[in-house]
């Protein structure tokens, strides 16, 4: 079964990990846990590099930057192939960066 881990980052609350070593060990632990499970992985650029397209009536409106009202931005998506939703959730719980991070685990629809 495939699940997408959609990694969301709160613009105001997010903080980097306290030390490099902790950051490395947590990241490496998470990464080792991905063993044989990653199907696809996308890491996105910073929100200020984005361009937002909306519509006013039928007219598209193109603005520089992310949607200003949004508190969170998508940082990346990792698609894993695992035995159960539980397994995907467990992987998400080991994600290294924590403060201001929210991960949505969602099934990938196939067929």
């Amino acid at each position: 079964m495939k699940y997408a881990m959609v990694i969301l980052r709160d613009k105001e609350e997010w903080q980097p990990l306290s030390t490099e070593q902790l950051d490395f060990e947590l990241t490496a632990g998470w990464w080792a846990g991905l063993k044989g499970k990653v199907v696809a992985s996308v890491r996105l650029g910073l929100p200020d590099e984005s361009t937002t397209v909306t519509w006013r009536g039928d007219q598209p409106v193109v603005t520089d930057g992310p949607y200003v009202e949004a508190k969170e931005t998508v940082g990346g998506i990792v698609v894993v192939d695992v035995g159960s939703a539980q397994e995907a959730i467990e992987l998400a719980t080991t994600f290294p960066s924590r403060v201001g991070i929210r991960i949505e685990v969602r099934p990938v629809l196939e067929g």
């Binding site: 490395f24 060990e25 990241t27 990464w31 080792a32 990653v38």
Partner: protein
């Protein structure tokens, strides 16, 4: 080996890659460049033993190779247009500190790794032109005869010429298609420099430095490829600990006994940051796994602080990417440190005979047996190990261990623990 042939071997390995690469760029002809460099080496072989090693052997080889290329061009009556090129830009060198400059050798690797060639020939050609590995050594490494290897190389070179493979770094998707072979070549180059398998020297620092530099260039080309970043971090983590690897007498110091105060901490921290950024991309790969394992050792303030649990998990990841008996051996050693020598030995013994001819397998078994107090079996294993390696630093380490075991067995007590 006499002085002249030792010096020649050294310079062939140090200089021939540069030479072949820069001549290829100037002549636009890999085959001609390689032949000319080989000619120069042959000339050195016949002159140096009698006349002595020239003051600047590298420059001597460069001048001679250029002369040989001119001779060949003249002979083949192709010289009119190309001689001019040869006259110019010959002393062009690359400044390693200047970003954005692509080393000719990196281009050479990409050329040798062209997909029209079989993978085996790609690696053979790269090793030959980059490391100056001889055809005879290649034949041995690929378990085939000299004649077969010669034929393969000749065929490969003909293919490069006939297919008109350009001396250039490919673009876009094509670069990714050749990436795995290119990474392998740089990795082999680094390993050869970091711990040479041959009897002449234990460390070939310059080759290792060059591999680091090439990996850095490759990262400039492909900053978003986590495996490229992984390889660079791996090389830098090893380099940062280089000074602690050998003692004053040139003998290997095991990781456990290394003086961690001489590790280059700022370099380690920078490499760890680089590696962490690659791991965050969530795309598992061989070099990232190796680098992460090296990183676990590098961040531990003391040997006792090593995170063996994480190391075992990373070995599991590594084995799922590339099933290698050597990685399995190292995993067993990590299990020994996590759970004790009995657990480690059980892992080793479950691996079967795949590593019976590998000296480090026996050295590891010896260490575990020693940990369990079975010292005479340990000495037997060390003896087996020393029969299987030709590296002088490793040999002397094993020799010391054998002496220790014999000492203990003879009832004189512990000498070194």
């Amino acid at each position: 080996m006499n002085e002249a042939s030792q010096a020649l071997e050294q310079y062939v390995r140090d200089e021939s890659a540069r030479l072949v690469a820069s001549l290829t760029r100037q002549l636009g002809d890999f085959d001609l460049a390689e032949e000319s460099v080989q000619d120069a080496i042959l000339e050195a072989l016949s002159h140096w033993p009698a006349s002595g090693v020239p003051k600047e052997p590298g420059a001597w080889l460069r001048v001679t190779a250029r002369r040989k290329a001119t001779d060949r061009l003249r002979r083949e009556a192709r010289y009119r247009d190309r001689l001019q090129v040869l006259g110019k830009s010959l002393e062009r060198t690359v400044d390693p500190d200047q970003p954005g400059v692509i080393d000719d050798r990196l281009v050479l690797i990409f050329m040798c790794c062209h997909p029209t060639l079989s993978r085996e020939v790609q690696v053979a050609l790269t090793l030959r032109s980059l490391l100056g590995v001889t055809t005879a050594q290649l034949a041995k490494a690929f378990l085939t005869s000299d004649a077969t290897m010669t034929r393969r190389i000749v065929r490969a070179k003909r293919k490069i010429v006939e297919a008109g493979i350009p001396f250039a770094i490919p673009s876009g998707d094509e670069i990714r298609g050749r990436l795995s072979e290119v990474l392998t070549s740089i990795y082999v180059m680094f390993n050869e420099g970091y711990l040479s398998a041959g009897p002449a020297t234990s460390q070939r620092e310059e080759l290792a430095n060059d591999a680091e530099w090439l990996a850095g260039l490759l990262r400039q080309l492909l900053p978003e490829e986590p495996e490229v970043t992984g390889l660079l971090a791996l090389i830098r983590l090893h380099q940062a600990r280089r000074r602690a690897r050998f003692d004053d007498r040139g003998e290997i110091v095991l990781m456990k006994d290394q003086d961690r105060s001489v590790w280059d901490r700022p370099a380690i921290n920078a490499a760890i940051e680089l590696l962490t950024s690659a791991l965050r991309m969530g795309q598992p790969g061989f070099y990232q796994a190796q680098a992460a394992i090296a990183g676990c050792h590098a961040v531990a303030a003391r040997w006792e602080d090593t995170n063996w649990e994480l190391i075992v998990n990373l070995y599991d990841q590594l084995l799922s990417i590339a099933d290698s008996p050597i990685a399995a051996l190292n995993r067993a050693i990590a299990i020994e440190y996590r759970d004790g020598p009995e657990a480690g030995l059980a892992e080793l013994d479950s691996m079967g005979k795949s590593l019976d001819s590998y000296h480090l397998f026996h050295a590891a078994r010896a260490q575990m047996l020693r940990g369990m107090g079975r010292s005479s079996e340990a000495a037997d294993e060390d003896r087996l190990a020393s029969k299987l390696t030709s590296n002088p630093a490793e040999l002397s380490l094993l020799q010391r261990r054998i002496e220790d075991e014999t000492f203990i067995k003879d009832g004189h007590g512990h000498r070194r623990q």
